[in-house]
């Protein structure tokens, strides 16, 4: 009888998303100091995004950031999850995120978000695992995003599964990778001018 091998991370992506395979190690139990610190990170960044503090949020991103959101397709059960990285909704690195933030913060003509939407990033179901790299954690969370714009009395919604790689190095804590698996094959938003 051998002890169970660490399993591959629940594979939510396939195809050309740049990634190194992440081995799921021990689960980090809720209530442990590391869990609480990572949970607080998710809560803080959600608030930064909802309050439009994008430059603060940018400070949480690692130099080698990979920020991906593949499209979904409706497929038969036996064909898998219908996740298609070959067409992304987002295919970003630190530099392209920087330009997106500069556009919103420095130009008065970024009309897709000016006037800004009112959003809520509601984060739940946080599961955290150690990885093969010391201080680097696989963080899974559910996101429910509400968005209201202008004088409309309706909301745009998005629900998604997020799989992050977050690094803790003493005082520093950085998001190195985020893969967003959205639940809609046909997006119910007029654009993706908001971050997930």
């Amino acid at each position: 009888m051998t002890s169970p091998e660490p399993t591959e991370a629940l594979s939510s992506t396939k195809g050309p998303i740049p990634s190194s395979p992440v081995r799921v190690g021990q689960r980090v139990g809720s209530g442990s100091p590391v869990y609480c610190r990572l949970y607080d990170f998710l809560v803080d960044e959600a608030r930064m995004l909802d309050e439009g503090r994008f430059n603060d949020w940018f400070g949480l991103l690692a130099e080698d950031l990979s920020y991906e959101m593949p499209v979904r397709r409706t497929v038969l059960r036996r064909q898998g999850l219908g996740i298609e990285p070959s067409t992304p909704w987002f295919h970003e690195n630190l530099e392209s995120i920087r330009i997106r933030i500069r556009r919103v913060m420095e130009s008065d003509k970024a009309y897709s978000e000016d006037p800004p939407s009112r959003t809520r990033h509601i984060v739940s179901n946080v599961g955290i695992y150690e990885t093969e790299v010391q201080g680097q954690y696989l963080v899974q969370s559910y996101l429910f995003l509400t968005r209201n714009r202008g004088e409309t009395d309706t909301y745009e919604f998005a629900s998604a599964d997020r799989e992050d790689i977050i690094r803790i190095d003493n005082e520093s804590i950085k998001l190195a990778k985020r893969t967003i698996t959205i639940d809609q094959a046909r997006l119910g938003m007029q654009n993706l001018a908001v971050f997930f």
Binding site: V71, T87, S96, R103, A110, Q190
Partner: protein, 268 residues
């Protein structure tokens, strides 16, 4: 290059369709953030862009805007612009085409077609009634230029709502690296998350809401900048060509054809 993006826009499908049939004005206002970011060399050039375009329309409502690139070659190589079509294509391959496949293009097209492709490359267009074409070079965050070539369709999904379907295209023989570069450029610039087209899909719902109101319903949309077709220089292809300062002619052709369909040729 992968399956399309699908997203729902709470607006009327005719707003984007008509826009892609030749609108030359919105670029300077709606996409002004690109100038603020320094993505166009300077404001003067960005305002000049629309005046150095051939807008090609047809009575059937199809339209395409072709950049007048003649000056690029004469500026770079003297008045004669004496540089082969192949060299021109190698210096700036059409959006979606990798450098190593330029030879294939030269082999398959006639001299006349190559002259047209290098001196009046197509950029944005529309196949009547609702298929948009986009092909241009995108300024990337690192300062490089990367091609983006794609198609849209605007499918009505009930009153005041349409489905935006966006495909990216790339040459079949392109390398995986080139495909990913194009994927990155397209995602950055066009479609739901693109820093260009996310502003477009903000305005179409606003136009739809405005035109549905009491005041909006009584207002006339003016399409009165018209003139006879006139090409700058020799035009090597078909269609009705309007070179220079943008007019409303190609969009008006779109509306005229739409009107014919709606009224079965009868005037109201």
């Amino acid at each position: 290059l992968g399956p399309p993006q699908h997203y729902t826009v709470p607006g009327n499908w005719k707003a984007p369709s008509e826009q892609m049939a030749g609108d030359g004005y919105h670029g300077q206002s709606l996409h002004g953030s690109l100038v603020d970011l320094g993505f166009q060399i300077d404001r003067e050039l960005s305002e000049d862009w629309s005046t150095t375009t051939h807008r090609v329309g047809t009575p059937q409502g199809h339209a395409i805007a072709c950049m007048d690139a003649t000056n690029i070659w004469t500026m770079a190589h003297g008045q004669s612009g004496d540089v082969s079509f192949e060299d021109r294509l190698k210096q700036l391959p059409p959006a979606g085409l990798p450098l190593e496949l330029v030879g294939e293009v030269v082999r398959h097209l006639s001299q006349r077609q190559l002259k047209l492709l290098t001196e009046a490359p197509p950029t944005v267009g529309l196949i009547f009634p609702n298929v948009g074409l986009i092909g241009f070079h995108v300024a990337m965050p690192d300062g490089s230029l990367s091609g983006s070539f794609g198609m849209h369709t605007f499918v009505p999904r009930g009153v005041g709502k349409f489905e935006f379907i966006h495909w990216n295209f790339v040459e079949r023989g392109a390398s995986e690296e080139f495909k990913d570069e194009l994927r990155r450029a397209a995602t950055f610039a066009v479609g739901a998350s693109g820093i260009i087209e996310q502003d477009d899909s903000e305005t179409w719902p606003a136009m739809t809401r405005s035109s549905a109101g009491y005041i909006g319903r009584q207002s006339k949309m003016r399409y009165h900048i018209t003139r006879e077709p006139r090409a700058r220089g020799e035009w090597l292809a078909g269609g009705q060509v309007y070179s220079g300062y943008p007019t409303d002619d190609t969009q008006w052709s779109w509306w005229e054809r739409y009107f014919d369909y709606m009224t079965d040729g009868e005037s109201l």
